[in-house]
Point group: C2
DNA sequence: GGTTTTTTAGGACATTTGTCCAGTAAAAAG
DNA sequence: CTTTTTACTGGACAAATGTCCTAAAAAACC
């Protein structure tokens, strides 16, 4: 987590050591849930090792994957974290996972400890926004097949690490249709 | 614009008067473009009066509406503003529109002028994130018909003020299909 | 290593959504 | 007010995508 902060802002190691008292740790077994819908999300996790996926359930009861997070990335129900309303997502480990955790209280302390942390928070939020925006654009501009193609060309990691059933709903299509698309591409 | 800032943070009128030197004004005629794709967006606008829409063009040359902004709302290609890369959106006035403008330099001054502005910036970014997240969820969870239904029930304003052709691509469907949906709903 | 469970692929058919188009209604321009 | 342009609706058909299902492959478990 420190590395990420340092890449955004020039923190001294003294400044970063502030984190030592604020971060906690947790491990998850494959399949285990970190957050369930209707809970308020009050922590942001950073993945040291493993993979997480966030998903919600539609009116038919199907699980729809919202996003994945890999090593050295953050994950949370950011919407719930920000608004303090109940999350509509569940967050689940897709592999045995080791996490660093920053809860709301800890983050508040960081923000209060100075200008630089405020700015870091804003910049990280901006980056999350930009990621989400890209995803939104891909849903508006591209077909399911084109989104798969994009993943295939630029995010091989997804295809290697994620079961296709999860990938399908992430792409906004059914597993049946993803199978068709894969046949056409290969 | 001041009202919005005040609703987020308790600014004194002295603090807010800082804005007087930083905000500029502009009017747009109906149909006029505020930003075109491949420009870098370096200003955030606040709508005093009027309506804006942001749209991009897909590989077939169709215009796809990305979002709308109404009175007392902000608009920009936030992604371009943040990353300083070329925007993929165009921003256009759907009616004669009066704007307050905060450019990047002005915003930087605000941020540098203190903690409170930093925090305000972060919170506004968070709110934009939450809005975008809601939209993303509606694309993953709902059908075009359900998205229309939601608009019909909770955002009557859209139906009153926005030509259906723009609404269609905003909902992720064709005008032909929107017409079918409307027939079924009414 | 063998058994059970989960995941993936793909056939057959149904439904949804898009394409192309023409007629009408509505709005903008002169 | 009349003309011209633009926006909206809906028919007929085509293409894309979903549903349901079965068999094979892969992974997890004992």
């Amino acid at each position: 987590m420190k590395t990420i902060f340092q890449s955004i802002q020039d923190f001294s190691s003294a400044e970063l050591s502030l984190l030592d008292d604020l971060i906690t740790f947790r491990t998850l077994k494959k399949g285990e849930l970190l957050l369930t819908e209707n809970e308020v999300c009050n922590e942001i996790v950073f993945i040291e090792k493993g993979i997480l996926r966030s998903f919600f359930v539609n009116h038919k009861g199907d699980e729809i994957t919202n996003c994945f997070a890999f090593e050295n990335e953050f994950m949370a129900s950011f919407a719930s974290f920000i608004t303090e309303e109940k999350a509509e997502e569940n967050i689940q480990a897709l592999a045995n996972t080791k996490l660093q955790i920053l809860n709301k209280k800890a983050l508040k302390k960081l923000y209060e400890s100075g200008f630089k942390w405020q700015e870091t928070g804003r910049k990280l939020t901006e980056l999350e926004f930009v990621n989400l925006h890209k995803r939104m654009v891909s849903f508006q501009k591209l077909s399911g097949a084109q989104r798969y193609q994009e993943l295939y060309e630029n995010h091989q990691k997804y295809l290697q690490l994620i079961p296709l059933q999860y990938l399908a709903s992430y792409l906004g299509i059914t597993p049946r249709h993803l199978s068709r698309i894969r046949k056409a591409v290969v």
